[in-house]
Symmetry: C2
Subunit: 215 residues, 2 copies
């Protein structure tokens, strides 16, 4: 119930991954502090996150792995598979296609795009590469609602504009710069350079993170 914060959704995704592993190991139940230990958050945080989910643990046995997993699957996956397009089949784009393939059944990368004629018309890691000029058509045909942008800087804004114009509702961008989208579209930026700069900064100045110690 209520409304989810970005942070809590990310953590729920992490809990789910851990629960999957426990499930594979035939572990039947888990305490909040077990989950906490696995993912560098506090036990209270875990319980708080799970509060909002339509699920209750037992004070004596903790949380039941398989039913909690089912609840999180329901929440995070939503009712039906969401189709994803990836734009920019360069080095990074290929890595994403390869890495992602089949990892989440309800998130399916169903088309890739590139402007390099040498790349279009082939399959890349199981996904057809289309010319970027077909973007709108293919997105419509395949009912794609999410985009991954792995083109560089200057081209990225144009790509995002096209994605938005084609009805995409969420974008994961690896362009090294913030991109402009209308407020109804969710965008998440990840930039390698910024991420490494952050690590470098805190490695240098602390050796003790602002927020990195738990138990």
């Amino acid at each position: 119930m209520a409304s989810w914060s970005e942070h809590s959704v990310v953590r729920l995704s992490v809990y789910r991954r851990i629960l999957s592993r426990l499930h594979e190991q035939s572990i039947k139940q888990v305490y909040s502090h077990d989950l906490a230990r696995e993912c560098r958050v506090s036990a209270a945080m875990v319980r708080r996150d799970l509060m909002g989910v339509d699920y209750s643990g037992s004070a004596v046995r903790g949380y039941d792995v398989s039913s909690l997993l089912k609840t999180l699957n329901h929440l995070l996956d939503g009712p039906r598979t969401q189709h994803v397009a990836l734009v920019g089949v360069g080095n990074l784009g290929s890595a994403v296609l390869n890495y992602f393939g089949g990892r989440r059944p309800k998130l399916d990368i169903v088309a890739a795009f590139d402007r390099d004629p040498a790349k279009v018309g082939r399959m890349a890691y199981g996904v057809m590469v289309h010319p970027i000029t077909d973007l709108k058509q293919v997105l419509h045909d395949k009912q794609i609602s999410l985009g991954i942008v792995t083109v560089n800087g200057t081209e990225a804004q144009g790509v995002v504009d096209q994605l938005v114009a084609s009805g995409v509702k969420g974008i994961l961008s690896f362009a090294g710069m913030p991109l402009r989208v209308p407020p109804a579209v969710f965008i998440e930026d990840f930039d390698l350079v910024t991420a490494l700069e952050k690590v470098a900064f805190f490695a240098r100045t602390h050796g003790q993170t602002p927020g990195s110690q738990e138990q």
Copy 2:
């Protein structure tokens, strides 16, 4: 002064990138709301972030691009180049090497590691690939203080343990799971699957982010 939050350091890194671009375009000064517009943050946030930096703008001309840039460079880069090792020269590792090369002069990826004998002994995007058994030696010889982990799940914890044992102070991890490090080591996790799940979730449930509208 004071102590920096992770969020503010990330934003400062973004400001720096924007300032670099402005500098290249020979734009001499910039107002807080200009920076804000470029990166989906409020103008007050920009001013607040810059408050803590040893720099003052002018109420009439705003911020001087080149001197602010210099200040941010000083803060974010630190006194000397930090050396980085990358572990896992697979698809994603290669993409990182290729993408990163030379982008930040003060952050230098000086060695790569892989356990596949077919990969070691070659250069990958300008970086020598060493056998993972040489990790400790090479890290010591090259005075490496940062690590990027691009190996998968199960191997990742072992790699991180070795990095930590070899004196690394900061890690950027792409392993799909949280990893255990001592509190003196800063670790940043990025997981593609979680990132896309987050985008998918908010694309589905809102169309309006919890915290995505500014001006």
